[in-house]
Symmetry: C2
Amino acid sequence: MADLTTTLPLTSESIHKAYSKIQQYVHKTPLLTNKTINSIASSSSSTSPSPKFNIYFKCENYQRIGAFKARGAFHAVTHLIDELGLEGVRKRGVVTHSSGNHAQALALAASSFDIPAHIVMPTISTPSKIAGTRDYTPHVYFSGSTSEEREAVVKQVIQDTGAILVPPYDHPDIMLGQGTTALELQNQYNSLKEDKQQQPKLKVVLAPLGGGGLLSGISIYFSNQPEVYVIGCEPSYQGGNDGERGLKSVPQQRIEKVKTLTIADGLRTPVGELPWKVFTSESSMKSKNLENIYSVTEDEIKQAMKLVLERMKVFIEPSAAVPLAVVLHNQEFRQWAYEKQKEEGVLESGWDIAVVFSGGNTTIDAIVGLFGESQDTERAEGKIGKDGKQVAENVAG
Amino acid sequence: MADLTTTLPLTSESIHKAYSKIQQYVHKTPLLTNKTINSIASSSSSTSPSPKFNIYFKCENYQRIGAFKARGAFHAVTHLIDELGLEGVRKRGVVTHSSGNHAQALALAASSFDIPAHIVMPTISTPSKIAGTRDYTPHVYFSGSTSEEREAVVKQVIQDTGAILVPPYDHPDIMLGQGTTALELQNQYNSLKEDKQQQPKLKVVLAPLGGGGLLSGISIYFSNQPEVYVIGCEPSYQGGNDGERGLKSVPQQRIEKVKTLTIADGLRTPVGELPWKVFTSESSMKSKNLENIYSVTEDEIKQAMKLVLERMKVFIEPSAAVPLAVVLHNQEFRQWAYEKQKEEGVLESGWDIAVVFSGGNTTIDAIVGLFGESQDTERAEGKIGKDGKQVAENVAG
């Protein structure tokens, strides 16, 4: 990875610079709205009054390789080229370990410059992800799934090839690259409002929080806009809300280890060190770069995902549904928004808020696995005799 | 429905007129491309050489109510208003029978003008479709599922209310309204090519064929462009390819009854009389308005649908996947395209073709039903002991 002494400072201006470098390589993804979801998000339950939201969805599921990760990868690779020269990087190559979107993103970015990319993946990775990565690079290595096992293989690759490590989130180049999502989102939002001759007034941006590359990039971008609240969204299952727990502990402390099998599989990692620093520090213009972190249950994530697929006709992965799940279901967030809107006297018109759909890399098989379960359970409850025979007939038939 | 003597002639010019009437009420849906799908569609199998395609997807799944049907419904309703005056139509109301997208489309169009819409639905309609229709009109009636039973209820509604029947496809207003899909598609395609400073040269437009409202509209629109081939796409399951069979029988003859439970549930109806006339007649500039009709199997439809969801991240219903399934899997179509491309000397650059995604109104439950089956079978084959006990543990655990 590029030497930390040569990376840009973590400021909004650096994100503008990052954007000018990667813009030609990444897609400008659409910013969509949906009346039905606005009305669901703005309706009161029997027990509590409702804040009102006009939601703008930033569709990074339509980004290259199907996720925002392409932004950070292109930014990291172009910075390496600036620093070492194209031939210098080509000679050494790049390496990372990832079972997911970062692997494909780095392989794509490297292949765009004819740079060899070495990708270490856990043996248990799904065949479609392995195939997806192999579309861009022949150098795929397998390891066990613990971080020690993966790092051992990476170390070996570095020894053998001299490849440069590009980590998935814990590096300024990656964070600034992902932050271009926020810049693009705000530009698109402003044009939309301009077209309608309305005053732009974006109040909240919600994004998923896993390692923190995306959320820290967004926080950095808005660090000089005190009127915009940035909010992180996590799955609560099996303690997957390490960011929320760390932020709310006294004293605040980064939680370094997490072991969760949440369906939001992009968000299983603990928050990285550098992103954590961004979240918990203030800028010259803002007392908190990150306003807060909220979490949701597996079922709330599934409900939000279902709504997006069925109503918006947009295909997203479970991790991408987490921020909308917070908007719809997290009572703490909704109560906070309600109080603020009341204070501001805007309960009638509500807030313009943005939700980042981080990616769309899931499969129909995975969806059948996620949503088919309840059907299996029904079948099991309804039809299994004590000896199980009836199920055998039912399934085999 | 508007008197047939007052409807516009079935010409491309009439579709321009229809568009100027409905444009303010319908969405301009996106025209998308996808490199991965182009490359899959253009790759040779071991047994046959491949034509080459650059596919433009017209996404009517992003149309209002999630399907192209909104176009025809708005055109029919605005024509009624021209003819009888707004108050005249409001006094009488409109009525149709439909279990699907046309019901919601008519209810939406009518509600936009405060016209009462009476919708007759089979009792067995899925709850989500009934709820979707009730979002726009309180006047939902239930009937048995045979056409006799449905028509009896419609007749009763007309007697009781004086409502005007708006059929789903077999009427010039509907056909011309749906044809605006083609006009919009070609405009968007031309602008895209212009932006790239390339010569526009659209060769083929493929659309699903059920009752024929959409496909006849498209055929009419291109009837004065001899260089563009229009192609209908059907499911072959249980004879669902009535259009193809009718076209290929000697003498050609419309097949009036079809009974198929194809997963492409929007395409279960036989081709209507007026659309059939359009397909089998020639225009002054073209020997065949419709070039041909091809059909695909259930499995081919599922493969195409899976590809669109997973690779394009676009959520479509099975009926909408039928044209892409033809492009990918129908050897007769591919052979024809290959021969033509060879003749024209364009095997290298290939053809620009358009595929219409007709709608996106399906549910996750339906997808689990469609794609979950094979997993059950695997599980059954892999894990069931002869007494079924192992499955019982597996399912209940």
